[in-house]
Point group: C2
């Protein structure tokens, strides 16, 4: 696979912003059932091998997973503070849970194994978004197995179809849009900022 | 008006993150006509006097303004890096353009007058999102009047109905949701992170 032109721009931005841990945080917009948009911060966890799919994680018990199972369209907004540039990546989300196709399980299991102990522990916490469980033991469960994912754990993949790149630096600003056509080729267009 | 409980939390977060210019950048999710969500960075420009409405600006010629005129539901995601906390603010957007009700014009005009020269100049640039205009003069137009807004200039207001506040610091994390009820009272609930 030849990489689409925006991939090297993301790689460069990640490198130039590597001093900021939160340069890997992106905002993920999805649709609620009532037609309202939802928006929250998620951590970018690399690209899935040999694809352009961005990896994130989520809990099957979260509102986010529920929304995605009903409407997979999404857009992430990724702002890089050091280089003052923004990527808006539009695409379809793929939720990989314990019941997903067997060919997706190795990626899910590998993602689980790469997490920190603290990140894995959160999947053993009480149901996210429900009334707060006040027993503090609920948030200090036994450490889950670090090889086999907990049932709730999902890998979340974003398959991009469009990327809108804005550079605030420069006089004037620069902006490009990258579109994937029906032949899976990426077309580039310079647009007004 | 007594301030809702989440207002002081935003004030505190802005203060504690004041060293970062981009702590005033938030991600605004809206709906496209095709049902896909859209998501982009906008600059928070304070609260409208005596209201809980957040102020932003936009160009009537932008896709964002077009989307909002058709579907006003929105959610902003606001991440504060220094304090490691996130606010998700759900509400309705109000687009204040040159044709809006006269009682909204003073706020629109005041916003215009508070902008920097560079920010005002962008409203005299070519249509955002269209094929790039290559004549460089197009991006160096004469400075617009700094008293009377250009026709394209919009004040954008977000009227919150729900605020979801997550603190990543703390063992475990803390999360609260604030809801406005039909009596315009704000109710607070602690929920699981």
């Amino acid at each position: 696979m030849s990489l689409p032109p925006w991939r090297s721009l993301i790689t460069r931005a990640l490198h130039q912003n590597r001093s900021l841990v939160y340069a890997r945080y992106v905002q993920l917009a999805t649709m609620r059932e009532n037609g309202f948009p939802a928006n929250r911060t998620v951590v970018f966890r690399g690209f899935l091998d040999d694809t352009n799919q961005l990896k994130f994680i989520t809990d099957i018990r979260s509102e986010k997973a529920e929304q995605i199972s009903k409407q997979s369209a999404a857009e992430i907004c990724w702002y890089f503070p050091n280089t003052r540039e923004q990527f808006r990546i539009t695409g379809e989300l793929i939720l990989v849970n314990a019941d997903s196709h067997p060919h997706l399980q190795p990626a899910r299991i590998k993602m689980w194994q790469e997490l920190s102990d603290a990140a894995r522990l959160q999947f053993a916490w009480p149901i996210p978004g429900k009334q707060r469980v006040t027993k503090s033991e609920a948030f200090t469960p036994p450490a889950p197995d670090n090889i086999q994912p907990l049932e709730h754990f999902c890998l979340l993949l974003l398959e991009p179809v469009k990327v809108d790149h804005l550079e605030l630096r420069g006089e004037p600003q620069n902006r490009w849009v990258y579109h994937r056509n029906e032949n899976q080729e990426w077309l580039t267009e310079a647009i007004n900022p």
